[in-house]
Symmetry: C2
Subunit: 402 residues, 2 copies
């Protein structure tokens, strides 16, 4: 019998409890041990809970309980999750988490402490909800040199963009719809400004490339500036707009970026709709491989937390996920990436645009306003933007996925 503790009895925490109850049999069969929730930390009271004696408001009750060997930290945020996680690891307990903010901020240190204490710090649930991605990246694709990750990493923004694309809702309407459905918070900034996707691509890049990426240095642009006109022009040019977390390694340098992108309709990512997430990974042997599923939600995320717990119980998990702090400055400027730009502009003819960029895809006058949109040839982003300054300032400018 293995005793676990749950830190935080919110959406994910109650999901972990639920999965542990309802799938107890199969979890026992797969892990080789009965896994029992031994303690739950939450500041609130749950007087109607069937196991209300499990609850405590004092973390020390968990820290000092030698029967508890694994802690599921599903509180979110850095404080006090960081202190609790560190203390648990130092006390020789393994920690599993869905807390992308903590992993992106202090993951390097926490991984090092876990390795030093011979326990595990695992975070499958921190990216892609229930989609297996951390483990496959680290283990199943281990025979590959990974060079590129392209992901739809945030379900809220994907839902909003899907509503804009499919139902012609404005950003504001689609956001209100997402809030009404509980997909978006009342303060939606973490999602719509790209911060959530930024933490996630930071974790994926650190893992895939083996070096700690500083998320505060990742260029991050959200979807608040996307207009229905852009959605319509994109469709006519055979693209859809998605919020893309992107990371690539080239000759030892790593480039990361979060921004809306035009995704060609022929790319499997283009068909990823609603709250679904998908992560495309490129390896030198495997080529492109994609992982798709629900990127959030109570039970999907809880099942990923439980998968990490099962892996630890089976004895497979110790110090599995390794990236290192490095002093070298390996992050490349995002403006050095090679890509194309979509440009929506006014009073610019195809001839004007081709004088600057050469032959281009051009869609004129969607709405009789004198507007037009075009896609530049591929080039270094900084060079494209320099060329663009020869034309009137664009109404919008969105990167294009190759």
């Amino acid at each position: 019998m293995v005793n676990i503790a749950i830190l935080g009895y919110g959406v994910v925490g109650s999901g972990v409890y639920e999965v542990a109850q309802k799938n107890a049999e199969s979890i026992k069969r797969k892990s080789g041990h009965e896994i029992r929730v031994g303690r739950i930390l939450d500041l609130r009271d749950f007087p109607d809970h069937p196991q209300k004696t499990l609850f405590t408001k004092n973390f020390d009750d968990i820290l000092n309980d030698h029967q508890i060997s694994i802690v599921a930290e599903v509180m979110g945020g850095v404080t006090p999750a960081y202190d609790y996680t560190k203390a648990a690891l130092l006390a020789g307990k393994s920690v599993v988490t869905s807390n992308k903010e903590l992993v992106a901020t202090h993951g390097t240190e926490l991984l090092a402490i876990a390795a030093q204490k011979g326990v595990s710090y695992m975070f499958e649930a921190s990216v892609g909800g229930g989609i297996p991605i951390i483990h496959p990246l680290n283990q199943c694709l281990a025979a590959n040199e990974l060079s590129e990750i392209t992901g739809i990493l945030n379900g809220t923004t994907n839902y909003i963009l899907t509503k804009m694309i499919r139902a012609n809702q404005s950003f504001e309407q689609a956001l209100a719809d997402a809030q009404a459905k509980g997909y978006a918070e009342r303060n939606p900034s973490a999602d719509v400004d790209g911060h959530d996707a930024c933490r996630k691509i930071c974790i994926l890049a650190s893992l895939a490339f083996g070096k700690a990426v500083d998320y505060s240095r990742i260029y991050t642009e959200g979807i608040t500036g996307i207009a229905l006109e852009d959605v319509a022009y994109a469709r006519r040019l055979d693209y859809v707009i998605k919020l893309i977390g992107y990371a690539r390694r080239d000759a030892g340098r790593v480039l990361c970026r979060v921004s809306p992108m035009l995704v060609p309709m022929t790319n499997p990512l283009a068909g990823v709709e609603d709250v679904f997430n998908a992560i495309m990974v490129h390896g030198d042997s495997i080529g492109d491989v994609m992982f798709y599923g629900r990127g959030a939600g109570k039970l999907p995320t809880a099942s990923a937390v439980m998968a990490d717990i099962i892996e630890i119980v089976r004895g497979d998990g110790t110090s599995n996920y390794i990236w290192k702090q490095t002093d070298e400055d390996f992050l490349d400027d995002y403006q050095n990436d090679t890509l194309a730009l979509y440009v929506r502009t006014k009073g610019v003819s195809k001839k004007d645009a081709e004088r600057v960029f050469g032959e281009i895809a051009f869609e004129a006058c969607l709405n009789d306003s004198g507007e037009a949109a075009f896609i530049t040839p591929a080039g270094r982003e900084a060079d494209l933007r320099a060329k663009l300054s020869a034309l009137p300032a664009p109404i919008s400018c969105i990167r294009v996925l190759q």
Copy 2:
């Protein structure tokens, strides 16, 4: 240092050698050990190979080499792969394989021998080429009760169907094209008659549901009967035709089937084209999750073989994949499945069809021949076919994925 042997220096075997050479550094970093190809078994001579001293024609040279702890069996076929695998396991060597035929035929026995000897028998490469699917099914989704697997499991038939759908080629033309490109064998039966997909769904079902499925009892229908008319009607009804390996568990009973199916355009499987494979898995917590990538090819498959080797070297892999022989007859008749049928017929009006089936989707007269196609409501397959016998015999009848 870990010494491995490669049995069979064909496409996959030479790929394993190549991956071991070119990614030696990262494999060492990820596995914690240098992994060296110590011996290669092949009946042919390779006088120009840079390491020609590695080759032997005698399996005993590998079996009796105590330095070799892991054997990569990539010969294919049951004979002599079965004897070699059994002997290697009994000698205390772990075996990894891409050999779906052997795993589907003797996997239960070989897994039991491996468990008994405390070594591993692993086969990530046997399904989906380089796509991580065996490991995620077994480990990452371990907190789920899995209920359904729906897969495009054969790249050759998917290529042929894509050519029929996209380029309006007949089955014969598309097959010739696939043969010219090396995607299809001169005798294409294993692919186009569904036998390859049958072995793969057998392996996935055994793993997901924990019981050995007898592949010889899986209803298997290939794509040789698919006509361009069916492709065209399917498109008008908003479907594409794919060869689908399907398995589900319901109340302890397992139903497996390989057949062409009409896949709704809104299903992510509909967008899986060319030689790509994709496997959709349904779990009670995660919902739908999909794995997508190259289902065959030298380096993708080799990288999956190497991933298993790395997992064994890290000490994570011992007796991981477990299904058991059972005496109970748990296989359900495929005709008990609930689905809809697509029917192409001649001289049947919408009224005729609705008299039998009630309200239906109906497309008439694609080509002025008096033909029409319709989709029945969902029902038990056996019941639908009984009803269908009230109408003139259909020209074609294809299952519809819900």
